[in-house]
């Protein structure tokens, strides 16, 4: 399973705060070796930057927490694509994603062909990207858990106006 940087970041932050959320639960499954994590260099680099100390936001260094989580998972690291590969794919992918910074990650996903790519950012990582990524399904964390067979709770009735 490939993961976007935001899934790593959310998993770490919510694990530290002991919050229930689909992202840390995906990591619980990964720690139980339900699947291997595909970690693209670009996603890991972005996550490490976001988890570095940020005194202005009162954030401590959360990178050791990420390391501790990853150490317990089966991780397959994947290098960034070359400049040439990114430049060649940029017009097609950026037009679909509307976010140039994620193009290297998308090219890596296209090459690595994980069984699933998970991102909480549904603005840039739309399910329709599957067509240009060689058939890799793109899902948000909760949808990914459902796809993997985690039962969803019954729908709550709508709150009357």
């Amino acid at each position: 399973m490939g993961t976007d940087a935001c899934v790593l970041i959310e998993a770490v932050r919510r694990a530290v705060d002991q919050e229930d959320h689909p992202c840390p639960f995906l990591f619980k499954l990964a720690i139980s070796h339900a699947f291997r994590l595909l970690l693209v260099e670009q996603a890991e680099l972005e996550a490490r930057k976001a988890l570095a100390p940020q005194p202005s936001k009162g954030q401590q260094d959360l990178r050791p927490v990420l390391d501790a989580l990853l150490d317990r998972c089966l991780v397959e690291r994947y290098p960034n694509p070359s400049l040439e590969e990114v430049a060649a794919a940029y017009p097609i992918l950026c037009a679909r994603m509307k976010h140039g910074n994620d193009v290297p990650l998308a090219v890596a996903v296209m090459k690595a062909q994980p069984d699933l790519f998970i991102s909480a950012n549904i603005r840039h990582w739309k399910p329709s990207l599957r067509d240009v990524l060689g058939g890799v399904p793109i899902m948000a964390p909760r949808a990914a858990l459902e796809y993997l067979g985690v039962p969803a709770p019954p729908k709550r009735p709508p709150i009357p106006p």
């Binding site: 639960f25 339900a34 670009q42 976001a50 140039g100 910074n101 069984d115 948000a140 067979g149």
Partner: protein, 90 residues
């Protein structure tokens, strides 16, 4: 003359479906643990509805990707990023 049987070819989609079935079986086995099942239920309950939000919003995540560009620049160099963005946007 001996007849050599060829194994049926498996398409990438079929291979993915087989791996998915194996993953689902492992997930189902993990969820037999009552603690994991309870944790799954809480995670799914928290996540309910978040993916139905408008597509122009970054949902679920408190993280808005402010480090994505820094990672791109570090990996590829600023001139390259600027060049692509000036030509294609993004």
């Amino acid at each position: 003359m001996a007849v050599v049987e060829q194994a049926p070819e498996v398409t990438p989609e079929e291979a993915r479906a087989l791996r998915l079935a194996a993953t689902r079986a492992r997930v189902a086995a993990i969820l037999q643990d009552p603690g994991m099942a309870a944790s799954a239920a809480r995670a799914m309950d928290v996540g309910e509805g978040v993916e139905e939000a408008p597509a122009d919003q970054v949902t679920e995540s408190a993280y808005a990707g402010e480090f994505a560009e820094a990672a791109f620049v570090e990996a590829y160099g600023c001139d390259f990023v600027d060049g692509l963005k000036s030509r294609y946007g993004g």
